[in-house]
């Protein structure tokens, strides 16, 4: 192990044995343990935003159960002056509000961590190597919330005041964050909750002596940035892509994407004069129907989409194959989660990489986009509609629960600078000029045929759509040559798609022997892990971040440049690596190594670093 020239701020673990801990500024994680359904989400977001508004990079991750109310939930806020917004394994500052989990929460902490807790829990008796701050929440909530029924909700806001005081968060920022969160319409509720924050602050100021080293100090690294969930950003991408038909079936973690889109469509997509909608949304009876409707709408010319998660993709697979063969545009956003059935529906996983790329029977292969940030959710949702219509095929946007449902710091969403790409659609006038058309003929040599839309007012417009064998004229055929010709054209079409997908983000380290390949949310662990490898082990690693499948031609060159290439997967079976192996030479395959994590939590840098260090024998 080599010492890094840049000494990072100390973490709790490092100063555990130090008699006089240094200050740890803007580089630690806070975890709030509560019971779900207790309104803690609002308190947590207000706390996170307060830090964000002070200019400190943050991320917020909600670890919640599949339950409406009553089960434990944890919200982790990471403040990072370095701008690392991936998950950090160690918890430095714990707010223990849930009696069910409080003991375990405290026992798991590294020595030197701080604990704010509900005084009657007497957690201070458990350990002697932590900084304890008891707060009598029940005594404090009474005076600020006369209505007993609301106390459960308001009580949580008290810890915002306590934590703000202990960490040195500017209370004015907390106030702004709180009023922003409640909005104008809930002003009364905001005032009561603000009272709770102040009560917490006053209590802490009067009764708690700060002994821990953690502090927030103002920075300037968040100006102009947003705090937004990936699902919201993806929904906005669909909105600005001009989506006209959304058909969906509720499933965690994609439901909030559909609901955000419905919200924005309601706000911005009604005709100014008539009030009528320029979109249709249907909550279908199941995923079979939601994809069926989306395919029907795509066939008839709408910009249509559905959003779902892995179990939904399984149900949709027959229709997706039909859309592939019948060549119908449709956008499918898959917010991945763990497991089928009850599985771990509220945990994150890159579980559907293979299924997105290959789902359905016969030879099927689909373009897949891998956004890694809210900004990419926004731009790639738009790209997906353009690609689907240009190439008349289902296009996947492969997100995950971590990206979709957690709070991310993001650049402002950029206004689209290119017009909508509607693909090769012939109008009645075109047909008049051409004298007709052949639906599945490769006129331009790019594998992409021309189509007409139902309702086109011309006797030559109609054709018969089917999944089964057809010749270039869309006439039923079981002939061997027709089938092979069509399959080869579809393969050609996919090659054309490859060249039109978002290019990978490649960061080459001079002289690096090892390369890393990732997709999606692994990005954040990668950024931090590369720094850890460099700082702690003196190992420089290049990095190629894939943004789409079929994979770019650059991938082969990247592998060739390096002795070993680590492919990072958030699943057990190395799905991204397996997909890369398709159509890859034996020499390149031999260079691939796998780094996998499949515990259901967002990937953290240390897991990646440890795996690479172990495999490299460092």
């Amino acid at each position: 192990m080599q010492a890094s020239p840049n000494v990072p701020p100390m973490s709790a673990a490092q100063y555990a044995h130090d008699e006089r801990p240094q200050r740890v500024v803007n580089d630690f994680s806070i975890q709030v343990a509560t019971v779900n359904g207790s309104g803690s989400q609002t308190a947590n977001i207000v706390l996170m935003r307060s830090i964000f508004q002070m200019g400190v990079p943050v991320s917020g991750k909600n670890l919640f159960p599949s339950n409406i109310a009553g089960l434990p939930t944890w919200f982790t806020i990471r403040a990072s002056c370095e701008g690392y917004i991936g998950r950090k394994k160690e918890i430095d500052f714990c707010v223990a509000m849930n009696p069910e989990t409080a003991q375990e929460d405290v026992m798991k902490l590294e020595p030197g961590a701080a604990v704010v807790y509900d005084a009657p829990l007497r957690l201070n008796e458990l350990r002697h190597d932590l900084h304890f701050y008891p707060v009598p929440f029940d005594q404090l909530v009474g005076p600020v919330c006369p209505e007993p029924k609301l106390r459960k909700l308001v009580r949580n806001m008290i810890y915002d005041g306590v934590v703000a005081h202990l960490l040195g968060i500017d209370l004015e920022e907390t106030r702004k964050a709180l009023y922003k969160q409640f909005g104008e319409r809930k002003r009364k509720a905001a005032e009561m909750n603000w009272g709770a924050v102040v009560a917490g602050r006053d209590y802490a100021a009067a009764h708690l002596e700060k002994t821990d080293p953690f502090a927030i100090e103002p920075m300037d690294r968040t100006a102009g940035k947003l705090i937004i969930e990936g699902n919201t950003a993806a929904a906005l991408g669909c909105l600005f892509a001009g989506v006209t038909v959304l058909t969906w079936y509720p499933i965690t973690p994609s439901s909030s994407l559909a609901e955000a889109l419905i919200h924005y469509l309601g706000r911005y997509r009604h005709d100014g004069e008539t009030g009528k909608a320029t979109y249709a949304v249907v909550q279908a009876e199941d995923e079979l129907a939601s994809i069926g409707m989306a395919v029907g709408a795509g066939w008839a010319g709408a910009r249509s989409m559905t959003c779902t998660s892995g179990p939904g993709i399984s149900l949709m697979s027959e229709f997706i194959g039909l859309a592939y063969y019948a060549e119908i545009p449709v956008v499918i956003i898959d917010v991945q989660r763990v497991g089928p059935s009850t599985g771990l529906p509220t945990r994150t996983m890159q579980g559907d990489i293979l299924s997105n790329a290959l789902v359905s029977h016969g030879d099927t292969m689909h373009p897949v986009l891998f956004p890694s940030s809210p900004e990419e959710c926004f731009t790639m949702a738009q790209a997906a509609f353009d690609l689907a219509e240009q190439f008349q095929t289902p296009v996947f946007v492969n997100m995950d629960l971590d990206l979709g449902m957690n709070n991310w710091m993001s650049d402002a969403l950029p206004y689209p600078e290119t017009p909508l790409q509607r693909g090769k659609v012939l109008t009645a006038a075109d047909l008049e000029r051409l004298g007709g058309f052949a639906r599945y003929k490769d006129v331009d040599g790019d594998g992409v045929p021309y189509r007409t839309l139902p309702g086109t007012r011309h006797p030559k417009a109609a054709y018969f759509t089917r999944g089964t064998g057809h010749n270039e004229f869309a006439v039923y055929s079981e002939r061997e040559d027709d089938w092979i010709q069509n399959m080869d054209r579809l393969a050609r079409k996919l090659e054309t798609v490859r060249g039109r997908l978002p290019a990978p983000d490649t960061q080459l380290a001079g002289g690096a022997k090892i390369g890393l390949v990732s997709a999606g949310t692994s990005r954040y662990a990668m950024e931090e892990s590369r720094d850890q490898l460099s700082r702690e082990y003196g190992v420089d690693a290049s990095w190629l971040r894939l943004k789409a499948f079929p994979f770019p031609v650059e991938l082969a060159g990247f592998i060739d440049r390096h002795d070993r290439v680590y492919v990072i997967d958030q699943n057990r079976d190395a799905q991204l690596l397996l997909l890369m192996r398709m159509n890859m030479s034996a020499e390149r395959i031999a260079k691939l190594r796998s780094v996998r994590y499949y515990g259901g939590l967002p990937l953290d840098a240390r897991t990646v670093t440890d795996s690479i260090v172990s495999q490299e024998g460092l």
Partner: protein
């Protein structure tokens, strides 16, 4: 050389001969009831002068689902997946609510694999014509019972059905279809009038047509055979359809007939047979269906008609132009709006 001019070919009010209303050559068995239904569809659309380009025809999988290839060659068609044509049809109409949609299915499609979609299409009152070509068996897989096979019906192999059949008309009335009819592929006049009424109807028409399978279900012991229907068909009324464009004053004896004005101004005439039947009475419609089943009768005619309930696409309050045709400026919000949204997240 003869100079005798050819006789002018017969055209409909859209100025079209019947040819564009026909389709490819059928590949179904000779004598299949489905072919007769196809013929009635061709006639109905031609006689009413519906422009083929304004129609879409969809289907699932099965013998019945092949038939959209055999009519309306100038209409877009889509042979989708088994049981799920209601979903594809619904999506098609979301994209373009100006289209007229004919969805052809079978009893396997509707009453088994796709019953969930069928039920929800009924709930939504999706404005389309849903035809169930009902023969009680799976033909393409060689003769297994379907879910509409009657209690006690016998397969060629001798197997007797002991399960309760699904009655698609009962489901239609219960769940929200606004025109529900049953007919027999062999009854030209009745089926023709029902199809025309469904073209004139604004809402979901469910037409359950008993359509014998000559290969697998036309033997003694079958309850979906030609012979069985001949003995058990019990029409509720005789039907006439008078299109809106035929400026004929329809006068019928009130005691003998009911005249119902359809959405497009055409008239449906129900001539009384043994009793006066009011198809707008939902509870009564359910009663007569149950009663007929008890008596081993196949009740045919327009069993239920509701002209008031808004269709699904009406309820969605869509702009007048089809969503598929909206221009970019109608569907992509402005730069200012995005800036406003960005600000909300700062």
């Amino acid at each position: 050389m003869s100079t005798v001019p050819a006789a002018p070919k017969k055209v409909n009010r859209a100025g079209l001969e019947i040819l564009p209303y026909r389709g490819g050559k059928t590949t179904l068995c000779a004598g299949c009831g489905h072919n007769a239904i196809t013929e009635r569809l061709i006639e109905a659309f031609w006689e009413l002068g519906v422009e083929p380009w304004s129609v879409v025809k969809l289907s699932g999988i099965g013998c019945s689902s092949k038939t959209p290839a055999y009519f309306l060659s100038q209409s877009h068609g889509f042979n989708a997946v088994h049981g799920r044509a209601p979903a594809v049809s619904t999506g098609t109409l979301l994209a373009n609510h100006q289209l007229r949609c004919v969805t052809v299915s079978g009893d396997g499609d509707t009453a088994s694999i796709g019953i969930g979609h069928f039920m929800h299409m009924l709930r939504r009152n999706v404005p389309l014509i849903y035809i169930i070509e009902n023969n009680g068996v799976y033909g393409l897989t060689k003769g297994q019972f379907s879910a509409t096979a009657d209690l006690g019906a016998k397969l060629k192999t001798g197997t007797v059905n002991q399960l309760q059949p699904v009655d698609c008309c009962l489901a239609g009335i219960e769940m929200g279809a606004t025109l529900v009819a049953r007919s027999f592929s062999g009854d030209k006049r009745q089926l023709s009038a029902i199809l025309k009424a469904s073209i004139a109807h604004n809402g979901l028409s469910v037409i359950d047509v008993i359509s014998p399978c000559v290969t697998f279900n036309d033997h003694a012991g079958s309850t979906k055979s030609y012979a069985y229907m001949k003995d058990h068909d019990e029409p509720l009324h005789e039907l006439d359809f008078v299109p809106a464009f035929e400026e004929i004053d329809v006068e019928f004896d009130e005691g003998e007939s009911r005249v119902v004005e359809m959405h497009d101004g055409s008239k449906l005439v129900l001539h009384k047979l043994e009793r006066d039947y009011d198809p707008s009475n939902r509870i009564h419609a359910l009663e007569v269906l149950h009663e007929a089943t008890r008596r081993d009768e196949v009740l045919t005619g327009i069993i239920y008609l509701d002209r008031t309930r808004p269709s699904f696409t009406e309820a969605l309050n869509l702009v007048d132009a089809p969503l598929a045709t909206l221009a970019e400026e109608q569907v992509r919000p402005s730069r200012e709006i995005l800036e406003q949204i960005n600000e909300e997240f700062r």
